[in-house]
Symmetry: C2
Subunit: 290 residues, 2 copies
Amino acid sequence: MNDLTTYIKSIGEKTDSTLEKLLPASSLYPQSIHELMRYCCFAGGKRVRPCLVVAAFEACSGKSAGEDVFKAAAAIEMLHTFSLIHDDLPCMDDDDYRRGKKTAHKAFNEALAVLGGDALCIIAFEVLAGIGKVEIISEIARSLGTMGMIGGQVVDIESEGKPVDKDIVEYIHNNKTAALIRASINTGAMLAGATKAEIDKLSSYGTHVGLAFQVVDDILDEESTTEQLGKDAGSDRERGKATFPAVMGLEQSKLYAKDLIDKAWEDIEFLGNKGYYLRELAEYIRVRIF
Amino acid sequence: MNDLTTYIKSIGEKTDSTLEKLLPASSLYPQSIHELMRYCCFAGGKRVRPCLVVAAFEACSGKSAGEDVFKAAAAIEMLHTFSLIHDDLPCMDDDDYRRGKKTAHKAFNEALAVLGGDALCIIAFEVLAGIGKVEIISEIARSLGTMGMIGGQVVDIESEGKPVDKDIVEYIHNNKTAALIRASINTGAMLAGATKAEIDKLSSYGTHVGLAFQVVDDILDEESTTEQLGKDAGSDRERGKATFPAVMGLEQSKLYAKDLIDKAWEDIEFLGNKGYYLRELAEYIRVRIF
């Protein structure tokens, strides 16, 4: 069994080559939007969601991920990128940098950023349709809609600068971040033909890992420099964003992240040795802060 | 056989009641985005695309449209509404009124308009997945992407205020408007189990009707008052938009619309009497200007 770093690197490379094949060429008319889509999809993302799709598939099936699994992983990465492009817009978080590069509306323009996000959302569904399983399209669409990612984003924006409690922060992050992470894991499990009972446990793992991911993100925003983050550090606090450190303090947030990862490990005890990479990925998400 | 007005009215009512069931309730948290989605979907649209879905289904199957056909029709209307919300944004066409009502970003705010458009796009794919036919999801996604609606919108925006020829205007309208109209007809035909040869002819009908629809829209923008249109009349010319009247003049545009509808009628000769409503719908689109 490879170590986690090798595993992550290999999945990242295969996701990139799949994206390379699926995204329209930059030379294709109208070029500007295709350039934007590729600029944003190849901006140095960590490919966390593709890793979770693949690891869930491999844990449940005992097989190596093939073309369809990587197509699903690439589609989910497109959907994640779509959400980042729209989140960064002037009318939303108004961010100039992301992963150390100019955001889409800064590198191109605002109209093209809106349309490029839309196009990534649409092509992702086209790719998912090509896999041929409607239940996966339903699962992913539900995780993105107003009962999922978009709902979380709405409450996030509407809570800015207002006093919020832990319930609101949990609502935001459970929907804005954890919903698509959960859907990534469920997609891998569904492609592997996992049972309903297995998917339920993996869903719970997804919720715990997804929340932990966001707690860590919030902590990093407080504790890191702009250079380390590739985006403006401390910007959450400046904008009065609803974050875990804001409602429970930094130390409690760190303990909470640890607790969430412990729970994620419990969720996948049933996988035994097959759960190795899923456990390691959960730990990898946590240790970013320690 | 009912007359066209009765037919259109009945489809509009059934589409509305389907949308009513499929859209999240305004009382559901987070309320603001659900209010926006309903505000935009029930803003008095003519339901042209649902009429084409239903008429194509009934012409090809000889049966009355049932629940799945109306679900597809409602999903396509959601996708059309998503495109209008984003088109109206300040960074795009910057329109304050649509169908006599304030546009989404004016009635609510810009962030919510971006997210509400996104949410309508996403829920539409969820609804389509519920019908269970991936080939319909592929067809509709292709028609919306950068080789379809979004591509047309990009070129439309990038052509503003620049000299354009008829080829560019045709490209814009064939993609921005005709692509989803064509997909609507193809969806109806696919739900009816039409053959490849039949779908090809209906696709051609869709292209002709879709282009005619946009030629007529351009003419109305020139010839009508703001009150008649429910949006700013003459705004295309003011903004230097690429329109048919701008490249071929008003009289030629009217002749072109007539020619397109004649061709649409030829495309569906094979349907005989079963093509009655599709012929009438094409004519209905043309006579708006005469």
